[in-house]
């Protein structure tokens, strides 16, 4: 019988290998932002306030070319739209949780905690156990992101050029992908989303990512209906 504490430990244990890739990503982000002309302390502040690597990088890139603020915010919204999808997927599992807790859980939403939680959660699990598993996964992500940013921002130039070290990042997401595919419909969703993402990669503001996700979901739903009819 699992307890909140054991679930927290399980979440932390499951997320730990992913933190290797994330810390690399965070360091790269820190270095890149400082190189773009943002003071290290501000870079750290950005990571705390925004806590979203892809958006942080994209916006700073656009800043350099004098993009208007409204576009910067729209870009942020689109790149992070998947966070809203995560919120929607996780919400039913946290229905029994108090409003204050839901605030904390919501603020920590990220790719890792989402993927691991969705794979782990079942209808049999108690609400309190789900909450602690999620926190076990989400808190290390937040900590790692901040720590990596600090290292990258303040030690930037001295980080050795890894032998394609950033390849760890797609590998990490790959490792999250397969457990998330639970049946043929899920596999279909992944396949269609992946293909669409490649075909739509040229779209601005990461819009390709969002559209590809919707295509994948749609394909999964269709396959799902076919399987159950």
């Amino acid at each position: 019988m699992s307890s909140p504490r054991s679930e927290f430990a399980a979440g932390a244990k499951d997320v730990l290998p992913g933190m290797v890739g994330l810390v690399v990503f965070a360091m790269i982000t820190g270095v890149t932002l400082v190189d773009a002309g943002i003071a290290p302390a501000l870079v750290v502040a950005m990571s705390i306030i925004v806590f979203a690597g892809a958006a942080q990088l994209a916006v700073i890139q656009l800043l350099e070319t004098g993009t208007p603020v409204i576009v910067l915010l729209a870009t942020t919204a689109i790149i992070n739209l998947r966070l809203m999808m995560y919120s929607a997927s996780l919400a039913p599992h946290f229905r029994s949780v108090s409003r204050r807790w839901r605030g904390l859980l919501g603020l920590l939403v990220n790719d890792f905690a989402f993927a691991l939680s969705m794979t782990r959660f079942s209808n049999q699990m108690k609400g309190v156990c789900k909450r602690w598993y999620y926190l076990g996964a989400a808190i290390p992500v937040w900590l790692t992101w901040q720590a990596g940013t600090v290292v990258g921002a303040f030690l930037g130039a001295r980080i050795p050029e890894g032998i394609s070290l950033e390849f760890i990042i797609p590998l990490t997401f790959l490792a999250l992908l397969f457990p998330a595919i639970e049946n043929r419909a899920g596999g279909t969703a992944a396949l269609l989303a992946g293909i669409s993402a490649v075909l739509l990669a040229a779209l601005p503001f990461n819009a390709g990512l969002v559209i590809a996700t919707f295509i994948g979901i749609f394909a999964g739903v269709l396959m799902d209906r076919r399987s159950s009819s």
């Binding site: 942020t76 919204a77 946290f94 790719d111 899920g186 992944a190």
Partner: protein, 109 residues
């Protein structure tokens, strides 16, 4: 080089933060009040595989103007090997180790 002042940048970051926090909190914050239709709950179960695939695949495959798939050979092989490991073992450490290992091996040969 970015010429914005510290306060301007901070304001921008806070605005980005508000947008992002809004997206993060959205459904979770309303969880108690809204009843989600079953269809939508079912569809949401496909968010994870779809999003993860959409994030990962473009890192390995890319379309060029000639409509051919450009693949970094090293990465493609490493990725394929890692995929098999990920599929069979569902073990993150192993997947990353094999992926990086194969990449380095190919690069060293």
């Amino acid at each position: 080089m970015i010429t914005w002042s510290v306060s301007a940048l901070l304001l921008l970051f806070i605005a980005m933060g508000i947008v992002t926090m809004g997206e993060r909190l959205s459904f979770i914050a309303l969880a108690g009040r809204l009843e989600m239709p079953t269809n939508m709950e079912r569809a949401l179960t496909f968010v994870a595989p779809a999003v993860l695939a959409a994030l990962v695949i473009p890192d390995v495959l890319a379309l060029t103007e000639a409509l051919t798939f450009v693949v970094s050979f090293d990465r493609a092989v490493a990725f394929a090997a890692a995929s098999v490991v990920a599929w069979r073992s569902e073990n993150m450490v192993l997947t990353i180790a094999v992926g990086m290992g194969v990449l380095w091996l190919i690069g060293a040969v």
